[in-house]
């Protein structure tokens, strides 16, 4: 280990390595660590023991084992996740994101790239630029990486052939012309034998450029964050007592000084900076990367998730965005479905309204698609419930990125990069009328309500809904019924039964129900509506309390026995694809307002149970 402290200046470099399964990524990192004399003695002993057990290079010490981490991965011989390694030379400290080359793990590479300033792309000298190389380069470019090393590995296996190296570089230049890299350094290396990794190789006399280590130590990857406009996302409001109110967060870009004016991006309200508290107390300025607490001269309405910006260089604010989206979840993205998104410290409900195209990361071609599967990338329109402040990702990674989270599993489902705001919707303001829902409800002397019956086909939804509607009508209430049959014959006749069409079907039903609700009616909706997410989507269109979900619970065996329309028989014969309960799932409600079990009950009895509940809710 070096006895000298790291020189000031170059600071930390975060980089990632990408390559295909056998390109020797792990070996290269192992070689860097090993040749920088950063491996402790007891680690080397473990390594020697592991090499005999798991190694792939015979009697040699397998350097790849230094970095492959988890037990299961070691046994399978592949890296399946992102691992971070730390090392330092006399000139610089490094964080290496080791990311897998395996096809299905695009998301891990993107994760590594999102946290890196530079990428080392490995190419097998024998194979040259291959599909995976293009894939890795595309992801790096999309994630905004500007600096690349093209490490042409296994140069020993092509007899240190200069011409072949030159050919690979030429291929690379042709291919990468359309990608947005500002600098690429090609280096011929042998990770296994150490050529041009930390020391110049005598076996490549034709190569006069830097070794990999030299290059990494000296490369300047300043993304100019300090010179960009000031951006500060409020992470936490610090109010320990009545005398202090500060806004804590990390400066995303730019600089600020005492006395500077700032505005809240969303509201446009303005104030001046009166105090800046850093880790050691008051300080006169703050710049990108610093975690500070800012105090303002005025009491502004400002909360976690808001963004402070300078009046003359504001962030954009929008509720519809055009974004690049990388999907990371096993469950595909469906347009219309609601997710939660995190922009900075703001969590907002979002949905993709349309997918413009899917980007084939192997060929860079754009193809139309209706849904987005794991590891796919698409250019989409994103609709936000509320408004967010942002900058285009290419201008500012910190304020132009977001993640999408599945609302049921809480899994991180997508990673997005904002391209630009879609102006269309921001100018359409809801028309205010003189007569509103409350006025109409008062005239009818009733509380408008959406009553949503969900359950399998043949469960008895429509029969119960009809009886309930008749009874409510007798009570003197204005009602209206929506069901699959009356909507699918008209408004929704262009829709089929694929997952996407089901989502769109329910979305339209929800919008229609909302209009009737606005008219003051009690709306009875009977739809199979098999997905929780869509039922929740409709619920959220209405005000709290306006949506009553009733689960008509009938076992599928009973529905098959009843089979009033003969549909189950057809589905079982394979004549109807995507039939709920047979070849398409039904997700039971987790928190329905009411569950009605129809087993052993007549429709009249079930309707009576519903009415008991409703009369209680509706009053009168």
């Amino acid at each position: 280990m070096s006895n000298q402290r790291i020189e000031e200046g170059r600071g930390l470099l975060r980089f990632l390595t990408c390559g295909s399964v056998d390109d020797g990524k792990s070996t290269l990192i192992g070689r860097l660590l090993h040749d920088s004399r950063l491996i402790a003695e007891d680690t080397l002993e473990t390594l020697a023991r592991d090499s005999r057990r798991h190694g792939t290079v015979g009697e040699e010490v397998d350097l790849a084992l230094l970095v492959d981490g988890l037990e299961a991965e070691r046994q399978q011989g592949i890296t399946i996740d992102v691992a971070y390694r730390y090392f330092a030379t006399q000139r610089r400290s490094f964080i290496v994101a080791d990311t897998p080359g395996h096809e299905q793990y695009t998301r891990n590479m993107a994760t590594g790239a999102s946290n890196s300033d530079l990428a080392v792309i490995l190419v097998d000298a024998r194979k040259g630029i291959v599909t995976q190389t293009r894939r890795h380069a595309t992801i790096c470019s999309l994630l905004g990486i500007k600096h690349l090393v093209l490490a042409v590995n296994k140069i020993d296996l092509i007899e240190f052939d200069e011409a072949q190296f030159a050919k690979i570089v030429e291929d690379w230049n042709k291919f990468s012309a359309d990608l947005h890299f500002s600098e690429t350094q090609p280096i011929p290396v042998s990770a296994r034998f150490g050529d041009n990794v930390t020391t110049s190789s005598a076996r490549t006399p034709w190569y006069s450029g830097p070794t990999l280590a030299e290059y990494l130590e000296s490369v300047d990857v300043d993304y100019g964050l300090r010179d960009k406009p000031f951006r500060f996302q409020v992470q936490w409001v610090n109010r320990p007592n009545l005398d202090f109110r500060g806004f804590s967060g990390t400066v995303a870009s730019g600089q600020i000084a005492l006395g500077d004016s700032l505005v809240v991006a969303n509201s446009g309200r303005q104030s001046q900076v009166t105090r800046i508290l850093g880790p050691d107390g008051d300080q006169p300025t703050a710049s990108a990367g610093e975690a500070v607490t800012i105090c303002l001269a005025d009491e502004l309405d400002l909360a976690r998730g808001d963004m402070l910006v300078p009046p003359a260089a504001r962030a954009e604010v929008a509720d519809q965005l055009a974004v690049n989206l990388l999907w990371m979840d096993e469950e595909p993205l469906l347009p219309g479905r609601k997710y939660l998104a995190r922009f900075g410290h703001a969590w907002v409900p979002v949905s993709v309204t349309s997918i413009k195209y899917r980007l084939d990361i192997n060929t860079q071609q754009q193809t139309p698609t209706k849904k987005l599967a794991l590891n796919e990338i698409a250019f989409c329109n994103l609709e936000i419930s509320g408004r967010v402040a942002f900058d285009p990702y290419t201008e500012n990674r910190a304020t132009g990125a977001f993640i999408m989270v599945d609302r049921y599993t809480n899994r991180t489902a997508g990673a997005g990069m904002v391209s630009f705001a879609l102006r269309r919707a921001t100018h359409i303001h809801a028309e205010g009328f003189l007569v509103d829902k409350a006025a109409r409800a008062a005239l009818l002397n009733q509380q408008p309500q959406v009553i949503w019956f969900t359950g399998l086909s043949g469960s008895g939804k429509s029969s119960i809904a009809k009886l309930v509607e008749a009874a409510l009508h007798r009570d003197g209430r204005l009602t209206y019924s929506l069901d699959g049959d009356n909507l699918r014959l008209g408004l929704n006749r262009d829709l089929g039964f694929t997952d996407q069409d089901r989502v769109e079907n329910i979305r339209r039903v929800g919008e229609v129900a909302k209009l009737f609700l606005d008219a003051g009616a009690i709306v009875l909706c009977s739809f199979i509506s098999p997905f929780r997410a869509e039922r929740r989507m409709v619920r959220e269109m209405m005000a709290p309390g306006e949506f009553i979900e009733i689960f008509v619970e009938t076992p599928v065996e009973e529905c098959i026995r009843r089979d009033p329309k003969g549909l189950y028989q057809k589905a079982l014969d394979g004549k109807i694809p995507n039939f709920t309960g047979i070849s398409s799932p039904y997700e039971e409600p987790e928190a329905a307002e009411l569950v009605v079990s129809t087993a052993g009950r007549t429709p009249q009895e079930s309707a009576a149970a519903v009415l008991d509940y409703l009369r209680l809710r509706l009053g009168g």
Partner: protein, 306 residues
């Protein structure tokens, strides 16, 4: 009064400090009931120091938790007492009562059983009893291979299970902090720090540590090539065995029968940093528990060990 950041803090450390403070604030802002796991070691001392900065001028807005196994070095407990008084900490101390009743100890039951019952199980008990949904710890990714893939916000499903195949990707520092009822999060603000960073920071910020980190003349036994300091007489001496007085220090803190010392004359922070930079052993070499079985750290993590 306007002061300037300490000149001794390098840009690299300043960046790590800012990152850790951001993570601590994120934890407070996102969770209902966070807790700081205070193990009294150097790493959690650094986390505590950072937490005090993160929430200033307010006080530390959550309690600290120490899982006491009954075999902590006496110096650690002494130090804990001092720091709790100095910083007016809200400290919870928990020892597994069943383990205590059954007399689980590292000498008769071995390190694995002892650590499982008195550390892992005890931690789960305390988190459950207080309903803590986020537990902040001082673990670093550079400590061990299995930790290199650990997340900053590491999700634990109900029952504190860590599933290495079901961890959330972390992009751009946009952490997914959402959890369901019964689930929890372990939070590691020092994820990106190395052992050198920790020591450099301790030196620059003058953070007080348990004296055992610094060399002194101490009574030690030589056992299986390890130097064990006999902190009390619960550890029986072997025939003809005698403690020798040696200049030793400890690189990590833990239960005294399981934590080996090494010979050293490093009596100050600067001495320690100098010694580390010329040392050839990894940090966990002094931990007897990690050598029990292959990939032991990963197995322990799955069971809920920090």
């Amino acid at each position: 009064m306007v002061s300037v950041s300490k000149p001794s803090l390098s840009p690299h450390l300043r960046r790590l400090e800012a990152e850790a403070i951001g993570i601590l604030r994120e934890t407070l802002a996102s969770f209902r009931n966070p807790v700081l796991l205070y193990s009294i070691g150097k790493d959690s001392s650094v986390v505590l120091h950072l937490a005090l900065k993160a929430f200033a001028p307010g006080r530390l807005p959550f309690p600290c938790l120490h899982i006491a196994t009954g075999w902590d070095f006496r110096d650690m407990l002494e130090f804990r007492k001092r720091r709790v008084a100095e910083l007016k900490l809200d400290l919870i101390v928990h020892t597994n009562p069943e383990g205590l009743a059954r007399g689980i100890n590292p000498i008769d039951h071995g390190s694995q059983v002892h650590m499982h019952v008195m550390a892992t199980e005890a931690l789960k008990q305390a988190l459950d009893a207080h309903g803590f949904d986020a537990a902040i710890g001082g673990a670093r990714r550079d400590e061990e291979k299995a930790r290199a893939k650990e997340r900053v916000f590491s999700h634990r499903s109900a029952g504190h299970i860590w599933d290495p195949r079901n961890q959330r990707p972390e992009l751009w520092g946009l952490f997914n902090t959402r959890i369901d009822k019964g689930e929890g999060m372990r939070v590691f603000p020092l994820s990106n720090w190395t052992e050198f960073d920790v020591w450099d920071y301790i030196a620059a910020e003058e953070i007080p540590l348990v004296p055992l980190y610094y060399a002194a003349l101490r009574p030690v036994l030589r056992r299986d090539g390890m130097l064990i300091m006999r902190d009390d007489d619960r550890m029986p001496l072997k025939p003809d065995e005698q403690a020798e007085q040696l200049w030793v220090r400890f690189r990590t803190m833990g239960d005294w029968p399981l934590t080996a010392a090494h010979e050293s004359r490093a009596q100050t922070v600067d001495d320690v940093i100098h010694e580390l930079r010329s040392s050839c052993l990894s940090e966990r070499a002094g931990r007897l528990i990690d050598q029990d079985q292959d990939a032991s750290m990963e197995r322990k993590k799955r069971e809920g060990y920090f």
